[in-house]
Symmetry: none
Subunit: 137 residues, 2 copies
DNA sequence: CTAGTTGCAAAGAGTTTGCATGGCG
DNA sequence: CGCCATGCAAACTCTTTGCAACTAG
């Protein structure tokens, strides 16, 4: 095992608790920084970025860019079971839905056969509009 | 009318011709800059941004951000029947490939029918590994 | 001529990196 | 005590803005 040990520092605990408590709402690094600033909890911006990156890499969070939002958005994945599925992100209301259906295997298969590309479902996000936002236009 | 006159400068013509000739593929401001640099055509980055902004405002181009692509992407709208592509982004080498195939309509159709979600193909990026990087592992 | 346009430099916003110090285990 | 993590500052990337010089019409 060359997996590095995870040190359970104050900062790490604080960030983990905070993002897990967001109930799936997305957040930016700057917003997290601001939150801790206001509580007079000392933490460096780079520490926040470092933890967010780790969480994304381990599949516990997703990272997005949303048009009209400055900076990357991060979102904690509450249900561990849905990590391996594709996700649908509503560009309008920000809802994150997971997509689990028979066609996904087909898509992966197809893209592999026709384009020799191996899709990583965990990282892939479909953008678009959910039913409510689409009708509301 | 308070619409200002459009001066037909060298730079403006060069940019217009270039983006119109891209056949609907997206491009970043930096790529445009690089293109003209290589042709030893003097043009300022800010000039490029200014023209792109105008084109977006007048509805001739679309601006969006793609996960995994640094900087904003611009796409010239050829006609009302805009070409849409999905993108494949290699997590390893960073290559960005365009994906255009028969299955895309099916995917969109399926996701709409089964999940009432309207996919925005242009913005969606599949992550994974391209053939070279997959084999090289 | 003269008002819009240009290139440059500087300023901003978001993110990453190098490094000495600090603290978990 | 050994390492990883941390905060800070600096570096970097992308984009915007101010400005004096320039140029199309």
């Amino acid at each position: 095992m060359n997996r590095p040990e995870n040190y359970n520092t104050k900062q790490r605990k604080a960030i983990m608790n905070y993002v897990a408590a967001l109930n799936g709402e997305h957040i930016t690094a700057g917003q997290i920084m601001k939150h801790f600033d206001e509580k007079n909890f000392l933490i460096g911006l780079s520490t926040i970025y470092r933890h967010l990156d780790r969480l994304v890499e381990s599949g516990k969070m997703r990272k997005y860019t949303l048009d009209g939002v400055s900076g990357a958005c991060y979102q904690y994945i509450i249900d561990e079971d849905i990590r391996e599925y594709f996700h649908l992100k509503c560009e309008e209301c920000g809802a994150l839905l997971h997509l689990k259906c028979s066609m996904l295997d087909e898509i992966q298969q197809h893209v592999y056969e026709e384009h020799t590309f191996h899709i990583n479902a965990m990282k892939t996000v479909f953008y678009g509009k959910c039913a409510e936002c689409f009708n509301g236009d």
